[in-house]
Symmetry: C2
Subunit: 399 residues, 2 copies
């Protein structure tokens, strides 16, 4: 179990509390989470189907439903699920000589019986486990419209309930292997910000700085995903996409960015100015930074997410932005960029040990600029352990 | 119209042929296609909703349904749709001074009335156009389960039909701006393969070569997406993900890879060997290459996709791999990696001028290796114009 992504005790506990007999992953995040299987085509397109069935009573009896065209990745990856049902046609030739170990694993998978489609394979897997009349949570996020109704029609005695909410609840508390990947993803992002800021000088464009950012991400074997990098008044655009805008002395440089490492996301925000920061930038940024620091101090198992929100917002207001308002001051992060909990004023979530949180206090003032501090931390028994190797303080660079 | 992605005459013709009054895009590919709007969060996560409504009778009266949190990108991008309906809360402060042009556009969008959610905004847009009882094609790919039923319940007199199939048919024939992006994406991929092969030497790993590949992609302002790079017997894995496997003299190096440029995908395959190629590699590769060349010669408007399949497979068999078998020899490419047409033996599609095709003859022999030639071309009135600046011939490198 040590190198599994899935938090199996939490999965079992949540299924038990809801009276659910089995859960089925269908979306890329939940398939990878439940099994370790990263099925390329569903990650880069919408439509391709892959499923993981986990029976609540005996999770080791899980089943993976995989396309015949993706069995190579199943043979090559660390997937703990033993029972595989494949579907669809894919042509592979086979050499006449002895097979190496990897090829032999792939050959064994290709020799499995084949079903016509993914739903047929899933129905067979459920029936084989005596779950045809069970209460089954099905992840609605990866299904195509109509699939839910087809599944219900083929399992008329089953009670299907949506699983997206349950998977989000399960994924909220990370396992050790997830925490390690998230730490690395976060630190790769910090180094990518440093690499980008290293080329800051008057006249450099947002696009050039983004290129430096992503180049470092790739150099560390991560995938570029989020790259909001804006200069001057463009820093007020929450989702700013790099343009040919050139950097000038006194400009804010806002990063809200992060790649994907071992499938796990990063989401970090840092602010610099080219040359000395204007006074209001310095004052406002200090207040935002203190807001994050206060929130991090307040995070402990058992504390309400809404309390963290209040601490952050009240600190920012008291320390220098009296009109500061937000809908949230952070969120969980994992295979998805927005895992639970949400740090909102109305959240009913409690902080738990093992949650990995992005804590942030963005401030967007249209026509002036945007400032933001966003750190990633893991919740431990007595507070937070930060993933950050850099301070969220304002940086004055170049010039 | 000149810089629009959407092929509006084709859209109107297909809607007219199917008796459809309006079409609604919901998936990221179709939203960007229909409007030019690239709404970050729906591209990197599943769940966030953005819609484009295009009335068949008057496409210029299109409507964009956008989240309040993504209005900055709408202000900053080339979006031709004038009517915007926003939904959801997002906090933006506004400076007291004069606004620059970009900030003023964003401010105007933020001053629009706000709806509670995306479906409510869509229903209002349909009602405002007298389409509440119309026959409406709705892209099912971007909706969440339940949305379809909710939409039908709120428009009880409307006839909703799935639009995914229609959008795929519309997108199959590219506009000039799409062709330019696809050409650039393909050529960036060729240069990324060259950059990767430039470091080929005994002992280099698949991961190191993938890093060189993606670094070049990023250097050309494209996003890494597909990076199947395998050595030796691992080249037989269709979806091979780079590992610590080290390159040895005589090894096959297989690339099936491509990034995303201006939102448009690339998918190119090339083969090299480290040092002189073993005889069977050379013979088989020559046959596969001739298969692609013959297919490209056969592609003309009006020819059946199934004919292209037959030409490719028969050529490969005749030229040296008598047992060659495939389910397809290529596909369209665009915002999605697999656009129409599919070059399959059972396809009923005809080749049309303006289609952009990936034509490929992969051969995977488990335990031995994989070989593949994949070129991207655009169909012109009298045949194909290739995007390739390199030959698909086998390359012998390094050593």
């Amino acid at each position: 179990m040590a190198n599994r992504l899935v938090n199996m005790p939490r999965l079992q506990s949540i299924l038990s509390a809801e009276g659910i007999d089995a859960i089925v992953a269908t979306s890329p995040e939940n398939v990878t989470y439940a099994s370790g299987y990263w099925a390329l085509s569903q990650w880069i397109r919408r439509g391709p189907q892959t499923y993981v069935l986990v029976p609540a009573a005996d999770p080791e009896d899980a089943c993976l439903v995989a396309s015949s065209s993706l069995l190579d990745l199943l043979a090559d990856q660390r997937v703990w699920v033993k029972d595989v049902r494949r579907f669809g046609y894919f042509r592979m030739d086979r050499t006449e000589g002895q097979l190496d170990a990897l090829s032999a694993r792939q050959a064994a998978l290709e020799d499995l019986p084949v079903e016509d489609d993914a739903l047929t394979a899933l129905v067979a897997a459920l029936e084989a486990r005596g779950l045809a009349s069970a209460r089954i949570a099905v992840d609605e996020l990866g299904l195509l419209p109509g699939h839910w109704e087809q599944l219900q029609a083929r399992l008329p005695h089953a009670q299907l309930v949506p699983a997206m909410r349950l998977f989000r609840a399960i994924r909220a508390v990370k396992t050790a292997v997830e925490i390690n990947s998230l730490r690395q993803a976060a630190q790769i992002t910090e180094r990518s910000i440093a690499a980008a800021l290293a080329i800051a000088r008057p006249g450099i464009t947002e696009i050039a700085m983004a290129r430096a950012f992503h180049t470092q991400t790739v150099a560390e074997n991560a995938w570029p995903v989020l790259g909001c990098i804006g200069f001057g008044s463009r820093s007020a655009m929450p989702n700013v996409q790099p343009s040919e805008t050139a950097l000038a002395i006194g400009d804010i440089i806002r990063f809200d960015a992060g790649g994907r490492y071992n499938h796990y996301r990063a989401d970090i925000a840092r602010i610099a100015t080219l040359g000395p920061a204007p006074d209001r930038v310095r004052r406002y940024h200090r207040a935002l930074h203190l807001g994050v620091e206060a929130a991090l101090q307040a995070i402990k198992p058992g504390v309400a997410a809404s309390t963290i929100f209040d601490v952050a917002v009240e600190t920012v207001r008291r320390e220098g932005i009296p009109h500061y308002a937000r809908s949230h001051v952070g969120h969980g992060i994992g295979l998805d960029g927005y895992d639970l909990p949400d740090l909102t004023p109305t959240s009913s979530d409690l902080i738990e040990e093992g949650m990995v949180l992005c804590v942030e206090t963005p401030y967007y003032e249209l026509g002036w600029g945007g400032l933001q501090v966003e750190d990633t931390v893991v919740v431990r028994a007595d507070g937070v352990e930060t993933f950050m190797t850099t301070s969220g303080a304002l940086m004055e660079v170049g010039a």
